[in-house]
């Protein structure tokens, strides 16, 4: 038993290996792709960003380490608080934190030197919360009214707060929650009903936004200054995509080799949103597929946790977080290859940047914590229903 205990302490070894590999890849890619950023801000000193990212990765690793030691039940207890915190945080950034990157998604935490994206925080908080509610309410899961206040309302509210500033994050989060509810045995009829309602509201928002021009994006030119200087916004996306495709086209099967990217000079965000294009340019389709498969393995490992789980909360939690990361990774890849329109989603655990990396690490830490504690059979009073019981109700 002692040996077994030892092994469970370490958590899922495959996930550990995945994370280490992705961190290593991140270091290589950032070194290569940040050259244009370095050119602009630090007199071409590319190691500036390498050192910075190395520090971030170290911090991320620390977060994973500490979090994986913590028992996942703590998140169940904190979930209401975290969700409660994220609402004013999102509201605050929506109203005030609007300068960086034009959209109001960033919040600076003084002293730490990290700008925190409040939506990153809210994403994790919501997934934890949904996992908790789903596990607690397995008994009443078939009841429409019982679901609305504790589940649908918070999901809707958080997504709605993220939506104006970052449509794709809101959509990603919504999809993750939807899939969690699907796994969490929410009645399919209600699920479809709610999602229909949600889509309707989003549609209305878009129509209204276009109609009333709020957000101050589109201004009317009153004087004789013609509109031909104003429509650059939409060309921007095309340009990025064009450059991204050039990167992919020239990458070939095995790529140009580490640090050989030329397109990094032409992609506005080669170190974050378009890092996947740089991966393919330098490491070819081979590298691209390997990275893709790594995220799939992450999801698969989380799926195994669900399968083996004896309790619902950790199962839903680990699966929800893995889903969040994997879906985000796929959106990043889909943008870089032009499958879906340009939207800013970093590649989790790989892209440059503090906020995304910190919260992705948090998610990985929690997943590892779940895997580490799997097999322990504690049952907390009233917190969740044993699997056998839940199964009977379905």
């Amino acid at each position: 038993m002692g040996v077994l205990f030892e092994r469970y302490l370490k958590g899922d070894r495959v996930i550990w290996l995945l994370v280490m590999f992705l961190f290593f890849a991140s270091l290589l890619l950032i070194y290569s792709s940040s050259s244009s950023l370095a050119f602009r801000y630090h007199d071409g000193n590319t190691s500036y960003f390498l050192i910075k990212q190395a520090a971030f990765l170290l911090m991320g690793f620390a977060i994973i380490w500490f979090v994986h030691l913590v028992h996942y039940n703590i998140w169940s207890g904190l979930s209401n608080l975290l969700l409660g915190l994220s609402i004013p945080l999102l509201g605050f950034t929506l109203l005030f934190g609007r300068n960086l990157n034009a959209a109001s998604r960033w919040l600076e935490i003084p002293g730490l030197g990290i700008t925190i994206q409040s939506s990153d925080f809210a994403k994790i908080a919501l997934v934890i919360y949904v996992a908790k509610v789903l596990s607690q309410r397995q008994k009443e899961i078939k009841d429409f009214n019982q679901l609305f206040i504790p589940l649908i309302l918070p999901i809707g509210l958080i997504c709605a707060l993220i939506l104006p500033a970052n449509f794709s994050t809101a959509a990603l989060l919504g999809l993750t929650c939807w899939l969690m509810m699907l796994v969490g045995r929410v009645n399919l009829k209600y699920l479809l009903g709610y999602s229909g309602l949600g889509l309707l509201l989003v549609g209305l928002f878009i129509v209204a936004a276009l109609h009333f021009n709020f957000g101050g994006r589109a201004q009317t030119w009153v004087n004789r200054i013609e509109n031909f200087v104003s429509n650059d916004e939409k060309n921007d996306g095309n340009y990025q995509l064009e450059q991204s495709k050039i990167a992919i086209a020239t990458g070939g099967i095995i790529g140009k080799g580490p640090g050989r990217s030329t397109q990094r000079n032409f992609l506005p965000h080669p170190y974050s949103d378009f890092i996947y294009a740089i991966i393919i340019e330098e490491y070819g389709v081979f590298g691209g597929v390997v990275i893709m498969i790594f995220y799939l393995i992450l999801l698969y490992r989380a799926g195994l946790l669900v399968k083996r789980a004896t309790r619902t909360f950790p199962a839903f939690l680990a699966f929800g977080l893995a889903l969040l990361l994997t879906l985000q990774a796929f959106v990043n890849m889909a943008v870089a290859t032009g499958v879906i329109p340009v939207t800013g989603q970093p590649l989790p655990l790989v892209s440059l940047g503090g906020s995304s990396l910190m919260f992705s690490s948090l998610a990985i830490g929690i997943i590892l914590s779940v895997s580490r504690h799997q097999g322990k059979k504690e049952l907390f009073e009233g917190e969740e229903v044993p699997v056998e019981e839940a199964k009977e109700k379905i």
Binding site: S36, F39, R40, L175, L179, L182, V183, R185, W221, R224, I225, E226, F228, V229, D232, N235, Y239, E242, Q243, K245, I246, I248, A249, T250, G251, G252, I253, T262, Q263, N265, F266, L267, P268, I280, V285, G288, V289, M292, L296, L299, V306, K307, R308, A309, T310, T312, A315, L323, T326, L327, F330, M333, A334, T337, G338, V339, V387, A390, K391, I394
Partner: protein, 616 residues
């Protein structure tokens, strides 16, 4: 013991992941394998190549007077991404344009191939220096605009538009077929500009700069190691006598037709006039497209170079060719006499005008007797030794072709036509095999029927006679800076006729111009007191309207310096218009003065355009 997710719900998640996976893989495959365009654009990205355009080579006349030169213009480029709000009205008025023109240019600029808001694209082309100077003073007000200096053609004399040709932007087909050319390059499209494009264009240079993500120039690439400077085009000395060319164009005012003058000894073209012409300046600058369109729509076809592209029946001028063939084949001697009483009466017959009769060979040329040549032509074709009409005709055709008829002379100008000399096969098809004889095709005796020649070929005939039996391929370029011209423009082409026979023809052409009054000479109007002109009139029947007036000549008789052909469409007898024009041209060239102002006035005032209109 497991939580277990219902399989259909698990399936939903798997499906979403698979869809993403497949979509991304497919897109990767598509970008890498199917769509090749991204690979090509990769190179243009890191570096910005700024073309240094060379000035085209100048074109001089035969005495070294510059005729075609260059003037500076400025293309205004725009990098859309860097363009900030600006005052359109001021922008337009500085450049001497209307606001509408500027607006339109913005729309068009963004539609052009390869447009990118981050690349410098041409917004306005060929802004003249005056407007540009005004704009340059205020350019600091307009962000995102750049200037590209270019040169375009300028003409010191508004002459020889067809000969020089014009310059325009290359089109897609040229860009695809010749790697030298890129979008927005200029290329010679017709005339000397086209045939000597390789020399005139010079060599483009390039400056290479490194650019940042916003396509802003950062620095010279590798300290300019790979830059190259533009090499100006080579200057060309044409064979044209500018004064003669200008005079010819004046004489041809309000007339349709062509004059070609050649120096027989060298084959150098002294003047090449196609009328109506146009001011070459019209096809330069911002209005080029509009002007070109209106020239193209003109029913008188001013762009069409009649000298090498119009096909006319040679008419009576062709009699000299038949005479030479007759002499060579031994079916005709200088003493051969035929009498003529109003025409040749065998078969459908060929009419003739009133003149002294009978005539010998020389007199037949002097009076241009049709009947005489019907005999001569039939004697050639039906010569016993040939055995058949077909054989006889083939021999005749071979002789005719040795005069440069029925084939391109290969002048150094594009679009030359080869004219028509019918073949045995043609007649066998037109009639039937055995269904034709020398009488059926009797029109050829007097240069009518299925024959057609270009004015250039006609002038070349004058050259052949002046040279007593050979010609040098006519050409319009004398010298290319530092290079010699193609050797084909130095070679002699001899005809199949023995040079000794030419003397009779020359005597006949001398008498046609300088014969005594009442002797029946057809071109006495062309005679000059102190220069012996030898010439022959023609009146080319024309199925589409009034006869064309034709004359070809050379002078002076004993030391020919100029051979000339004149065609005036729908102008009637050769002696009426073509002969006086040729005579004035010869005098102008040889003496540089005009001794017969009354004749000059007569020609200058002649307006034959309305005659054409009446005919319609």
């Amino acid at each position: 013991m497991a939580i277990g997710v219902e399989s259909n719900r698990r399936f939903v998640i798997a499906a979403i992941i698979v869809v993403f996976f497949v979509a991304v893989i497919f897109k990767l495959f598509y970008i890498q394998v199917i769509n090749k365009s991204y690979k090509f654009s990769a190179d243009n990205n890191v570096l910005r190549y700024i073309t240094q355009y060379p000035a085209r080579g100048l074109i001089f006349d035969r005495y070294g007077n510059p005729l075609v030169v260059n003037k500076p213009v400025y293309d205004i480029l725009m990098v859309k991404k860097q363009v900030q709000s600006f005052d359109t009205v001021e922008f337009a008025s500085l450049l001497g344009l209307t606001v509408e023109q500027v607006r339109e240019a913005f729309v068009l600029a963004q539609k052009q191939k390869g447009y990118s808001p981050r690349k410098a694209v041409v917004l306005l082309k060929q802004i003249p220096p005056e407007s540009f100077a005004r704009f340059q003073e205020k350019i600091y007000k307009f962000h995102g605009f750049e200037v590209q200096p270019r040169t375009v053609r300028s003409y010191n004399m508004p002459i020889a538009a067809h000969l020089f040709g014009y310059v325009g932007e290359v089109d897609e087909t040229v860009i695809k077929s010749d790697p030298y050319y890129q979008q927005a390059d200029y290329i010679g499209i017709s005339g000397i500009e086209c045939s000597y494009e390789k020399y005139l264009r010079g060599k483009k240079g390039v400056k290479i700069f490194m650019v940042d993500v916003h396509n802003r120039i950062k620095a010279s690439y590798e300290q300019g190691r790979y830059d190259s400077v533009a090499v100006p085009g080579k200057s060309i000395t044409s064979t044209i006598d500018a004064k003669l060319q200008e005079y010819g164009e004046r004489l041809m005012q309000n007339k349709i037709g062509s004059i070609v003058a050649i120096e027989p000894r060298t084959g150098e073209v002294l003047a090449m006039i196609s009328s109506p012409s146009y001011n070459p300046e019209l096809l330069v600058g911002r209005d080029r497209a509009a002007n070109f369109r209106s020239l193209q729509q003109d029913t008188l076809k001013p762009i069409f170079n009649r000298s090498i592209m119009a096909l006319y029946p040679p008419g009576s001028t062709f009699k000299v060719v038949n005479a030479l063939i007759g002499l060579q084949e031994g079916v005709l001697t200088p003493e051969t006499r035929y009498s003529c009483h109003g025409g040749y009466t065998v078969g459908r017959g060929v009419g003739c005008h009133i003149h002294p009769s009978p005539t010998n060979l020389i007199q037949s040329i002097q009076v241009s007797c049709n009947t005489y040549y019907c005999y001569v032509f039939r004697n050639i074709i039906d010569k016993k030794e040939f055995g058949s009409v077909e054989n006889g005709f083939s021999v005749w055709k071979r002789h005719v072709e040795s005069f440069g008829y029925g084939n391109k002379l290969n002048i150094d100008l594009p679009h030359e036509l080869k004219g028509i000399v019918p073949s045995v096969a043609f007649y066998n098809k037109y009639f039937r095999k055995g269904g034709w004889n020398s009488l059926t095709i009797i029109s050829l005796a007097i240069g009518q029927g299925e024959l057609s020649v270009t004015p250039l070929q006609m002038a070349n005939l004058a050259s052949i006679i002046a040279n007593r039996g050979y010609y040098i391929t006519p050409h319009v370029v004398k010298k290319i800076e530092g290079l010699s011209i193609d050797t084909i423009y130095r070679e002699r082409h001899t005809t199949t006729i023995d040079p000794k026979y030419f003397v009779y023809i020359i005597e006949g052409m001398d008498l046609a111009v300088n014969g005594a009054p009442g002797s029946g000479s057809t071109a006495r109007i062309a005679a000059l007191p102190d220069i012996k002109i030898c010439g022959k009139t023609g009146t080319a029947q024309n199925p589409h309207g009034a006869d064309h007036s034709v004359f070809f000549a050379f002078a002076p008789k004993d030391d020919p310096k100029i051979a000339i052909s004149v065609y005036v469409e729908n102008a009637g007898f050769g002696a009426t218009w073509a002969a006086p024009i040729a005579s004035l041209m010869i005098e102008k060239y040889l003496k540089d003065s005009i001794s017969r102002p009354f004749l000059e006035q007569y020609v200058l005032q002649g307006n034959l355009l309305d005659r054409r209109a009446k005919k319609k």
